[in-house]
């Protein structure tokens, strides 16, 4: 156990730093992220503007701070929807089996048969654009994968002795499911959550990159990346700021996930 904890520690430190950066952005940014300033258009990184300015003269650092908050919000929301709904569905189907299991898992198969992107695109075009709709669409797309993982674990736990004893002692089904079994599969779920979180960050960035679901004034990391594309040759720092935060965010959480997995082995 001790041997691999440096993954965990590195991940925790990195994530703490990135999260602190993002949370700070909710309360304070060096400049108003929306404020346009014609005098400093496309200026290179300097002491005043640490990450430079964009085509409208807006401070990129401030926009990245605000934008990563948006990205984090969507990613956490997506994982929350996916985990909660996925756990409930997975627990019921895995524990009881039968026709409910068949029906829900086939629906899950159908959902995952679509590339997740296409599915999210369809949902956004049906519900309409906007932050909350984007969150909901990505959340729904993430449900099947969580449900599948949880189901497998519950199906395995169903026949184990501690569950049988709990049943004999007359524990209610809900108690067995969520008090007895859930804590035992927690490690598996946790590593699924870390992977899912990273996928959600990337999915949000990709969706915003394609210009779906975000307004251009709400800086999101993906939107900023796509916006910076045309200026890559002239103002490369424009893309670097948002790209860097995505990388660090994913690296940090990814390391945590890896550390947790190795610890449990």
């Amino acid at each position: 156990m001790k041997k691999h904890s440096h993954f965990l520690i590195a991940g925790l430190v990195l994530s703490a730093l990135v999260f602190a950066f993002i949370i700070l952005g909710w309360f304070w940014t060096p400049f108003d992220p929306m404020k346009m300033n014609g005098a400093v258009r496309e200026s290179a990184p300097s002491l005043e503007h640490l990450m430079g300015t964009d085509k409208f003269g807006r401070d990129i650092l401030s926009r990245v701070m605000k934008g990563s908050g948006f990205t984090l919000f969507v990613a956490l929301g997506t994982v929350l929807i996916g985990t909660v709904a996925g756990t409930v569905i997975g627990a019921l189907t895995g524990y009881f089996g039968g026709w409910l299991d068949e029906a829900l898992m086939r629906i899950g198969d159908a959902l995952s048969a679509f590339p997740s992107f296409l599915m999210a695109l369809v949902l956004v075009s049906v519900f309409g654009a906007g932050r909350n709709h984007l969150l909901l669409a990505l959340g729904i797309v993430f449900i099947p994968s969580y449900a599948r993982i949880v189901r497998t674990e519950f199906a395995r736990a169903r026949n184990q002795n501690y569950v049988k004893s709990a049943k004999l002692m007359g524990a209610s089904t809900a108690r067995i499911l969520f008090i007895h079994i859930l804590p035992n599969i927690w490690p598996v779920l946790l590593s699924a959550i870390t992977i899912g979180f990273n996928n959600a960050v990337l999915a949000e960035a990709a969706m915003s990159y394609l210009g779906i679901g975000v307004s251009p004034d709400e800086a999101s990391l993906g939107y900023m990346l796509s916006d910076s594309q045309s200026y890559l040759a002239v103002t490369p720092w424009y893309a670097l700021g948002s790209g860097l935060v995505i990388i660090l965010l994913i690296l940090g959480v990814g390391l945590i996930g890896e550390g947790l997995k190795r610890r449990d082995l």
Partner: protein, 518 residues
């Protein structure tokens, strides 16, 4: 591990799927009279010393494919018309100065009551398929436009041909009628216009690869000044970054509609010409939306808007300020004074808002077509400026097709940024739209004064009276703050050094016949 692997596989699958969609279909259409597909002509390479191609030809970059059908009477996309201007001509054709000169017709006379035009056909004008233009072709072309409704202005017009004289009789005088006779003269007995178009212009259609390129060749039997270049290849670059690479790498010699940020990436091997896009860019306001139905609110928006800041932020300070639905290329009709009617004044704007009963502002969503970056940028800047007077603005990018269906046709919007051009060289093409009940009046503007001025313009017996009526209409639009007028966008054309002879037109066309190597 397995999960990571499957994720990787899934994304690989998705990427290959997307790549499959992007693969270009190889449909080829060829010039008339040839059985085999046109020989694959690849433009010669650029000589490093002279900086020009080995052969007398150029490659022009375009940003989108043409209409599926190239039939000149049915094409809708401005980009197709822009290109096919080189292939087709009407009885008259526009010049870069904004005049109309006889083309397939040699001359014309107008009767004293202004209702009867008599055109004399030019002798010996040849179609690209080698046949001579006859009276039958001319009558067929005009009648087709009239009967099929392709040119609404021809409705009710009588067309009769005798000898070399073509007589057109109008139901009522119409000073602008000549502008509609730019509609293409095509052969009466030719069925393949859609795939292998035949006209009388200085260039003939040679071949087309869908989503890839279109090739035009010089027409040596052209009646007028012959084109200089042997061949023009139009190559499609939907991605602006790819286009810049193509220009720098020598694959493309000429491109129009460049942005300021793009020209800064081009080196000294290009001449940059500056013209105008010939569009009326504005924040178009839906008068059916509660707060915007009040003229004071609309005026407040005009006062809140700072054009110069927009120019500074998005175009290096360049742009042609507009104050009404008319752009400067229409010299005769353009009123420069209107663009200074609402100088930037935040206090004034706030006072007007308060007077109209919105001291704390209101919610406003500006929909912008996401694929047109000048409109998206203008929308963002305008939003920021409107926020300064307390309006709660949201900018919502929508896809182009959604914009057309939902915003333009469905009128489901509060405000939108877009640009309108004139389809013919008439002031009417820009101003008729805002008359009460007009099907293209998507902002729902209605003014009795405006309608009356439009009627005056249509009934005017002389050009002077008509022009005055149009100028008055522009003034009414500005006074009522029908929209927050922005600009006619600066249009940059990049030309490889050594090329010359490019002319800007007041309408959306690109004339290749005058372009040549020095």
């Amino acid at each position: 591990m397995k999960r990571t692997l499957s994720l990787f596989l899934a994304s690989a699958l998705l990427i290959s799927l997307l790549a499959g969609c992007a693969a270009k279909p190889q449909t080829t259409t060829t010039a008339p009279g040839t059985d085999a597909p046109a020989a694959e002509v690849t433009p010669s390479t650029i000589n490093a010393e002279t900086g020009r191609r080995e052969t007398n030809e150029i490659v022009v970059g375009i940003s989108q494919d043409l209409d599926n059908s190239l039939d000149p009477h049915t094409v809708v996309a401005a980009g197709t018309k822009e290109l096919m201007f080189n292939v087709f001509e009407g009885l008259v054709k526009p010049t870069s100065d904004g005049d109309l000169v006889p083309a397939v017709a040699e001359s014309y006379t107008l009767s004293d009551d202004l209702t009867t035009y008599v055109f004399k056909l030019r002798e010996g004008v040849k179609f690209h398929n080698g046949k001579t233009v006859t009276m039958e072709d001319a009558v067929y072309s005009l009648s087709r436009c009239r009967d099929e409704g392709y040119v609404p202005a021809l409705a009710g017009v009588e067309i009769a041909g005798e000898g070399d004289e073509l007589t057109i009789t109008l139901p009522a005088p119409n000073n602008e009628f000549l502008a509609y006779l730019t509609c293409a003269i095509i052969p009466a007995d030719y069925a393949d216009q859609a795939t292998a178009p035949v006209g009388t212009g200085p260039f003939k259609f040679a071949s087309r690869h869908a989503q890839q390129d279109v090739v035009l060749e010089r027409f040596d039997d052209y009646w007028g000044d012959k084109a200089y270049l042997d061949r023009v290849t139009y190559r499609i670059y939907e991605n602006p970054e790819a286009l810049v690479m193509a220009l720098k790498g020598g694959a493309v010699d000429l491109y129009s509609h460049l942005s300021v940020s793009t020209i800064s990436q081009l080196g000294a091997e290009f001449t940059i010409l500056e013209g105008t896009m010939n569009l009326v860019q504005a924040v178009y306001l839906n008068h059916a939306y509660g707060p915007l139905s009040d003229v004071r609110v609309r005026q407040a928006l005009c006062y809140a808007f700072d054009r110069q800041e927009l120019f500074d932020l998005t175009a290096g300070g360049r742009g042609w300020p507009l104050g009404s639905s008319m752009y400067p290329a229409f010299k005769k009709y353009f009123r420069e004074d209107l663009s200074t009617l609402y100088p930037h004044n935040v206090e004034r704007a706030k006072a007007l808002l308060a007077e109209a009963g919105y001291p704390n502002g209101f919610d406003l969503t500006i929909k912008v077509p996401s694929n047109y970056s000048p409109h998206v940028d203008a929308g963002q800047v305008a939003a920021e400026q409107f926020r300064a007077i307390g309006i709660n603005v949201t900018v919502e990018p929508v896809e182009w097709t959604t914009w057309v269906e939902d915003v333009y046709k469905g009128r489901n919007f509060e405000a939108t940024v877009c640009g309108f051009d004139a389809s013919t060289m008439t002031a009417r093409a820009l101003l008729e739209r805002f008359t009460t009940g007009n099907s293209k009046n998507f902002i729902g503007y209605s003014s009795a004064e405006y309608d009356a001025a439009f009627a005056d313009a249509q009934n005017a017996k002389s050009d002077d009276v008509q022009t005055r009526a149009y100028l008055e209409m522009e003034g009414i639009l500005a006074k009522d703050a029908a929209n927050v007028y922005i600009q006619d966008l600066v249009d940059f054309v990049a030309l490889r050094k050594g090329l010359t002879g490019y002319h800007f037109y007041p309408i959306y066309v690109m004339d290749m016949s005058t372009v040549r190597y020095e």
